[in-house]
Symmetry: C2
Subunit: 340 residues, 2 copies
């Protein structure tokens, strides 16, 4: 007998989320309606932006409902089909519930070809993560050959891809991350020109040395004081894609710091927030380019895969301790035989 299990949000977190904000609940496997498929979760993605949806305030996407299942990026496999489009054994990706089984219409998921790329890459470098890096860097940041690109949260899922795309475009790339292991990874594995450990170095001073020609593009994944330091070094005409503000997600009080309008003014600099869905009309273009670079070996990615649905919350909470490198995933089940 298959049994379903889901993760509900039961409290809106105050500050850093706690385990007690979530509850695991057993449930029956949902019955299929016409045109629906039953998708067994194979991998699920935990992402920093989800913290925002746990609060009940205006944001770019609506908040999660209390006592409802949390949803996010999921790669799964069809185990039962009442759809003409999808067959048992098909692999699919979608924004689905954090549960072992989701009943969804075929329009809610996209079929994956597992021969093109590893299943997990679809939740990372070829998925929303890669597209976030692609559009934020190229559309807003628009790095030119020889320019200096700084990326914070550089060892994270988005940051690692941003830095590599900037290198592909011929820029000098400087990363900011939080451990010596990460620094070594960025410089030795991903080809960053310089990387700064914000926990052991003075960011402003270290950046000044690492960016002798100033900063032309700052891809901001973190906000807070790290960003203040980078903003002090921007060049005339700098571009600043604001992608995440992980330093702020768990703040309970107002985030106060130097107002940066003067810096933007004296440098004729541009700062723009974005969310990947702003570029939905161009996803296809981005995905093709990312897949090409991946195939050509110009783009590598790292994943941190935690095993077991029961470890989902720990994996999510780990995003805020600065310990993970690359894309954080949870493996929920083994993929079955492709024939289902």
């Amino acid at each position: 007998m298959m049994k379903n299990e889901k993760i509900l949000l039961v409290n809106r977190p105050k500050g850093t989320p706690q385990k007690s904000d979530f509850r695991f609940e057993e449930a029956a496997v949902p019955e299929l309606q016409n045109d629906q498929v039953l998708v067994k979760t194979i991998y699920l993605s935990v992402d920093p932006y989800m913290r925002g949806r746990m609060s009940d305030r205006k944001s770019y996407i609506p908040p999660f409902e209390l006592n409802e299942v949390i949803s996010g990026g999921v790669v799964g496999q069809v185990v039962e089909s009442r759809s003409g489009e999808l067959a048992e054994g098909d692999f699919v990706i979608g924004n689905l519930g954090w549960q072992r089984y989701n009943a969804v219409s075929d329009a809610e998921v996209r079929k994956l070809d597992p021969s093109l790329a590893p299943l997990t890459a679809n939740l990372g470098v070829l998925g929303m993560t890669g597209l976030t890096a692609y559009f934020g860097l190229l559309d807003i940041g628009n790095p030119q050959e020889g320019e200096t690109v700084v990326v914070s949260g550089a060892a994270g899922a988005v940051g690692t891809i941003v830095g590599q795309i900037a290198k592909i475009k011929g820029a000098r790339v400087v990363g900011i991350a939080g451990s010596d292991e990460k620094i070594a990874y960025l410089k030795e594995e991903l080809g960053f020109d310089e990387a700064i450990n914000y926990k052991t170095e003075k960011v402003y001073e270290a950046l000044k040395t690492a960016c002798p020609d100033g900063v032309d593009v700052y891809f901001d994944n973190v906000g807070g004081e790290i960003s203040d330091s980078v903003l002090g070094l921007i060049n005339k005409g700098a571009r600043i894609p604001v992608c995440g503000q992980i330093a702020l997600y768990n703040l309970e009080k107002a985030d106060v710091g130097p107002r940066m309008q003067s810096q933007l003014l004296i440098n004729s600099a541009l700062m723009k927030g974005f969310i990947v869905s702003d570029y939905a009309a161009y996803f296809e273009e981005g995905a093709i380019e990312l897949a090409k670079w991946l195939k050509e070996g110009k783009l590598s990615y790292s994943e941190n895969i935690v095993d077991g649905f029961e470890n989902t919350i720990d994996a999510f909470l780990g995003l805020f301790t600065g310990e993970n490198t690359g894309k954080q995933l949870v493996k929920v089940a083994e993929p079955g035989n492709i024939q289902g």
Copy 2:
């Protein structure tokens, strides 16, 4: 005998500039070199941005030199010519010294046709002031019909033009200014839809009422807490041209406030600093459009003209007390017979 007189910067102001930071000095009228003309100052322009040049720090234009003559927008008349291009009696405009006479090459000034517009309009609505409003609003703000545009420093030289151009483009326009006279002027003379007196009203609350559909474009002339309030009300996809930060020019300590990256992020909003010279390649286009609107009666402007070179410093200091409406000018001399 003609005598020259100049205004020197003798101290870098700490906080708000003081009279003692400047010195009037008599001097000989400069001798002309070949291809030079001697320009008698008729009107000079005092502008908030000049405060920035009085400090010795990185900005978009180099600082004024200590013990040297200050320079800014001047309309003058040629009283002696060794140039083939300009004749005695010609009116010219340029970035010239705060002095009664400037000796300049003909390339440093542009000839004006006094039959096209009042001389003073060339320092305001048809000059750098008008072009600042034009490019900042249209290129960065890009207001669409029916959108809401908020402008701070609304009764100032740039703000009055921004609001009127936004109305020409079909937007709802809300101004923020500092006196009931200014509020009345904006609403009754310039056709602003709403105007808020930041000295007597709670800006955030008043804006919320005045902008029931939120804020699509915020033309920021002032910075500081007023801007914090506006930023709390921006819509998805908002655009924020940062033109001036008059609240900050005289600050001695760091300007600290809520960091606004989160607001930009959750609204996919764009903020961009600029200086009018960023658009130098397009000045002709802007000037033609502004002159057309002026001729059609779609654009009105107000000037505050102080009489007498000796009152230049008072006029400049008055910019920071929030008392002036429209463009602040100093009349230095009567224009002579057009034949010279």
